[in-house]
């Protein structure tokens, strides 16, 4: 009994201990309910987040095609070299050795690679988008922790071709300019994903439950651009860009006037789309001389922006005399004038207190409106503008689309700027009439003049014809959009005729093309601030004048090789572009009577014929001849058959072996047509006339601008020398 009391107490205390443990275990059970049930899904979500590797599978970026499905931009797969430094370190591999093996293959510094591999991380990118053979070489090394990852590489097969239209992509294949940027969403597609389980060392788990979502390829973009026309445009524009030493860039646009499709659009200088961040060497040298890092970075950025700038869409400028087309249409449409309305030009005109000069200082005298267009007479157009009046002028300016952006498919489009109401007075109206004051973009101008050519219907210019999938199925097609009827068919016809006359007989002669009726207008504007001798030379034209199909505008910003009149330096470029384009498009030439007389003929094959028969054959083709040698049979001839010659040209007939006579090509540049003809004839050479000389109304103002072969070349007698003529009386 004595003993049992403490024993009992002991038992009770033992029970307390058990109860205490049981209570704590219950509390821990409650804690588990809290963690596993109440907080469970949240903790599980976070756990899954760290346990899964969500890697992107690059989608195939859509291609960009020209209208004939020629690939202008394409994507191909490339391998990116990555590494798992933790894995390498864990495997106790020699980082220096791995780096040394990789360095020569990847053309990188071994130390740089070693530094990357020494990082305490599970993933580093060593080099992106390596060439296939380099990737194969890396794969062959079978290095621990070095991986190849599939990546996409953007490739532009034609380098700097259409660079401002296509745009380019950045480091992550994101579109950074042009179509690449505007159509980013369509082109990029949807990247796929691989969701795989990984352990804490970032290695794959042994479970095979990875989820794969396939990437969706991007849509392909088909442009309205015709690769061939773009090529002509770029070629001729580039020639002028260098020849005229253009300082602030040049641009050209070719459109289909009936639909608004842009067939070509070029800006010079351009850049290689495959290396869009590489500046020209001279710019680099200039940049290198900037000492301050920050300034240099800024300067580099500015230089790149300038290089990438698409003048045709982004840069507004004063259109100069090209705008007279628009002013003229306003007055014709309003019935204020007819082509026959008389005007008088004294060489200058006083508007309120300001005297405005005509480019032709002696004055054009009495002239019809059609003459005023042909002569590009400022005083006459001031009169026309004043007739239209401030209200109507602004109304039409708006109607032709100069106040809005056109809604074109390229980034950064500028809209036109007109005077604010407060600044819009008679003097402003007067200068605006001949294209000084308001600024427009080249694209707006070509669209507006396109409307004049297209029976008054203003078409919305566009660059993307359709979107297609990889099987060529059309996903979306752009239909031509009529913005509005700006002027009547009648006004359009009248203006077309006057503009055709401008090219055939007036200031636009340098855009003349044999066999094609070109309507066009020159433009020269002095850049602000005025008086610095900096000009913008332009020419706008469309053809054929009786049934306009295409329009072309060329703008040369700050030519610095002496000439600056649009009619002198921009018109020939337009002429060449139109000629090549019309031929390529298969537009049938239609020769005028005058042209027919000067028509070129095929040189017949008279080799092996008797002297008499040969002469007879040549006469049939309106060709003359010259016989060298005393033989009775023609052994050879110059020019040979297959070439063409203007009628009346001389074909040299050789009747003896080795009788070839050599002639030295004389310098005919700056000679008039007849002088050049005579000079070449003296040297027993034939002449093929191009440019303004072909209009058939050449005067002393039409002079040879260039020739081929160049002066001093030794050629066989009878060789055809190609001579390009230019009309000098232009503005």
């Amino acid at each position: 009994m004595n003993q049992s009391v403490p024993k009992r107490k002991l038992q009770i205390k033992i029970l307390y201990v058990f109860i205490a443990f049981a209570a704590i275990l219950s509390l821990l059970g409650v804690r588990l309910v809290f963690l596993q049930i109440i907080n469970g899904s949240d903790l599980q979500k976070r756990a899954v987040e760290q346990q899964t590797r969500d890697s992107l599978v690059a989608s195939h970026r859509g291609a960009i095609y020209d209208r004939n499905k020629k690939k202008l931009a394409q994507s191909s797969t490339a391998q990116t070299i990555t590494a798992n430094p933790n894995e390498i370190q864990k495997a106790k591999k020699d980082v220096i050795e791995i780096a040394a093996k990789l360095a020569p293959i990847l053309e990188m510094d071994a130390n740089e690679i070693a530094t990357m591999l020494e990082k305490k991380t599970n993933h580093v990118t060593i080099k992106r988008r390596v060439e296939d053979d380099a990737a194969a070489a890396v794969r062959e090394l079978e290095l621990t922790g070095i991986y190849l990852q599939e990546d996409a590489k953007r490739y532009y097969p034609y380098g700097n071709f259409a660079s401002h239209i296509l745009g380019f992509v950045g480091f992550d294949n994101q579109g950074l300019g042009g179509i690449e940027m505007v159509y980013e969403d369509e082109l990029k597609g949807e990247p796929g994903r691989i969701i795989a389980l990984k352990n804490a060392l970032d290695n794959d788990m042994p479970f095979k439950d990875e989820t794969r979502i396939d990437p969706q390829n991007g849509t392909n973009v088909v442009l309205t651009i015709d690769e061939v026309i773009q090529h002509f445009t770029e070629k001729h524009l580039e020639e002028a860009y260098y020849e005229e030493k253009v300082q602030s860039g040049a641009c050209a646009i070719v459109t289909d006037v009936k639909t608004g499709e842009v067939l070509a659009m070029a800006t010079k200088s351009d850049f290689d789309l495959n290396t869009p961040f590489t500046l020209p060497e001279d710019v680099e040298t200039q940049l290198a001389s900037i000492a301050n890092d920050e300034e240099r970075t800024q300067a580099r950025s500015n230089a790149l922006q300038k290089m990438w700038r698409n003048k045709a869409v982004v840069d507004s400028y004063e259109p100069g005399s090209c705008f007279k087309i628009i002013t003229g249409c306003m007055a014709l449409e309003e019935g204020l004038i007819t082509p026959e309305s008389p005007f008088f030009c004294s060489g200058s005109k006083k508007v309120e207190n300001r005297t405005i000069n005509c480019s032709h200082h002696e004055g054009h005298g009495a002239q019809t409106f059609a003459d005023a267009v042909k002569n590009s007479c400022n005083p006459a157009f001031i009169d026309v503008g004043l007739l239209v009046g401030k209200e109507k002028f602004k109304e039409y300016y708006k109607a032709f689309g100069f106040m809005d952006v056109t809604g074109f498919d390229l980034p950064g489009e500028a809209s036109g700027i007109f005077y604010s109401d407060a600044n819009y007075n008679t003097v402003e109206l007067a200068t605006a009439s001949f294209g000084q004051g308001p600024v427009v973009t080249p694209l707006q101008l070509v669209a507006a003049v396109g409307a004049v050519a297209n029976g008054g219907k203003l078409m919305k210019p566009f660059l993307v014809k359709e979107l297609i999938d990889d099987d060529g199925n059309v996903i979306k097609k752009t239909e031509p959009t009529i913005v509005r009827q700006v002027i009547s068919q009648k006004t359009s016809d009248q203006m077309c005729a006057m503009l055709e006359n401008t090219v055939a007989n007036g200031t636009g002669q340098n855009a003349y093309i044999k066999g094609y009726r070109v309507a066009g207008k020159t433009g020269t504007s002095e850049k602000v601030p005025r008086g610095n001798g900096k000009y913008i030379s332009s020419f706008i034209a469309f053809a054929p004048a009786n049934d306009p199909k295409i329009a072309c505008l060329v703008v040369l910003d700050e030519p610095s090789n002496g000439q600056y009149y649009g009619g002198a330096i921009a018109a020939p470029v337009v002429g060449k572009i139109l000629e090549d384009t019309l031929r390529y498009m298969g537009v049938e030439p239609q020769y005028t009577e005058e042209e027919k007389q000067n028509l070129e003929v095929f040189v017949p094959d008279v080799k092996g014929l008797s002297k008499d028969n040969a002469i007879k054959n040549l006469k049939n083709e309106n060709l003359t001849y010259r016989i060298i040698g005393n033989g009775s049979t023609v052994l050879s001839q110059m020019p040979k058959t297959g070439s063409t010659l203007p009628t009346g040209s001389v074909v040299i007939l050789y009747t003896e072996e080795n009788a070839t006579q050599v002639s030295i090509v004389p310098d005919v540049r700056n000679l008039s047509l007849s002088e050049a003809q005579a000079r070449l004839a003296e040297n027993r050479l034939n002449m093929n006339i191009t440019g303004a000389g072909a209009t058939g109304n050449s005067s002393n103002l039409t002079v040879a601008n260039s020739q081929y072969p160049l002066p001093g070349a030794q050629v066989e007698e009878g060789t055809v020398v190609e001579v390009e003529f230019r009309y000098l009386d232009v503005d």
Partner: protein
């Protein structure tokens, strides 16, 4: 006279009856179940870790099986070794424990700035494991002997001094977690044997202050405290393990991801077969499995306490209570740590965490309880 004879007869009767009672099979069964589950979980939890770091997924389970076999041998031995004999051995055991703890300070293997392991000819063990069981045996024997003198303050203070010396030695290693386990276990034993609560408060205050000072003195312990308060402040550093543990527990949900299917054991939880094995259990077996294991421990404690209550003498009662308290304190602290209920301290989960010497001592201790269970108090 009559009374005397009766008493001696009773004693005689008691003695014969005692030897004839069998083991507590319920307790034995619980122990075997926990051991088996422990082995399964070590196998599951350690496999990826062993595979990645030792290139043999069975690296840990092979060792653990061997230790389990040795432990079972130890249990069979202690279960058949009359527990009364520890009474005489208690003081020598205490001395040996003290020598071992001094030895580990002198010639122990230094791992990460702590000397906790003694190497004896290619075989290593932690003297702290000996200390746990050794002190429990000593306290049980000593407290049973002095009976209710423990109620006196000057007696209690002696035990505190013994405790203080041994805990001090453990802190010098340093081995804070074992120090904590032993401290709590011995305090339970003192309370059960009749020490007064008021005396405890008197002695407890300076001990508590000392404990807090020790905890904060070492910067890493303070860091553990701040990590406990906000593990997400440094998710990749100090907070990593506890965050990963919570992720594992949370991922388990009600039913778990299934045996062997843990993802967190793939190096997210470092050394998942050790102190944090319970979070892998929660992940694989879910709340149901985790609660089942908690219940199993509760059953173990229940059966153990029953054995303690039915033990024929105070020594047996205190010995069993001490061992159960020792296991109980570790179970409770371990689960509290992995569920982020208290700051992290390295305490293995008995029967589950891989680690040889610990398992052998636990099994040996279970054997002692089984031995005590043989001797039932006589009921007249």
């Amino acid at each position: 006279m009559n009374e005397r004879t009766a008493k001696s007869t009773q004693r005689q009767l008691k003695k014969t009856k005692l030897t004839k009672t069998g083991f507590d099979f319920g307790f034995l069964f619980t122990v075997i179940l926990l051991l088996a589950l422990g082995l399964l979980m070590v196998f599951s939890a350690s496999y990826p870790y062993a595979y990645y770091y030792f290139e043999d997924g069975l690296y840990f389970i092979k060792k653990q099986l061997l230790w389990a076999a040795i432990g079972t041998g130890a249990m069979i031995f202690t279960a058949n070794y009359p527990y009364q004999k520890y009474k005489k051995l208690a003081f020598p055991i205490l001395i040996v424990t003290g020598i071992l703890l001094l030895a580990v300070l002198a010639v122990g293997i230094n791992l990460n700035g702590a000397k906790r392991w003694l190497g004896v000819g290619g075989f290593t063990f932690q003297p702290s494991e000996v200390a746990k069981l050794g002190l429990v045996i000593y306290f049980a024997a000593s407290l049973a002997q002095i009976k209710d003198k423990i109620k006196k303050f000057n007696y209690l203070i002696r035990y505190f001094l013994v405790m203080g010396v041994f805990m001090g030695l453990l802190l010098l290693e340093p081995h804070f977690s074992v120090c904590l386990i032993i401290g709590l276990t011995l305090v339970i034993m003192l309370l059960v044997s009749g020490a007064k609560m008021s005396h405890f408060c008197l002695l407890g205050v300076p001990f508590g202050v000392l404990g807090a000072a020790v905890a904060i003195m070492e910067p890493y312990r303070l860091k553990r405290l701040t990590t406990f308060l906000d593990p997400f402040a440094d998710p990749l550093g100090s907070g990593w393990q506890i965050i990963q543990s919570l992720y594992a527990i949370g991922s388990g949900g009600l039913f778990g991801v299934g045996f062997g299917n843990s993802r967190q054991k793939f190096m997210y939880i470092s050394e998942p077969q050790n102190d944090f094995i319970f979070s892998i259990i929660c992940e694989e077996l879910g709340l149901i499995g985790a609660l089942a294991i908690l219940t199993l421990f509760a059953v173990l404690f229940w059966r153990g306490m029953k054995i303690a209550v039915s033990a024929p003498d105070s020594f047996g009662s205190l010995l069993v209570t001490g061992i159960i308290a020792l296991i109980g304190v570790q179970v409770v602290l371990n689960i509290a740590v992995v569920t982020s209920s208290i700051p992290t301290t390295g305490i293995p989960l008995p029967f589950f965490s891989a680690g040889g010497s610990s398992l052998v001592f636990i099994m040996a201790a279970m054997g002692i309880i089984l031995n005590v269970s043989k001797y039932k108090k006589q009921t007249i």
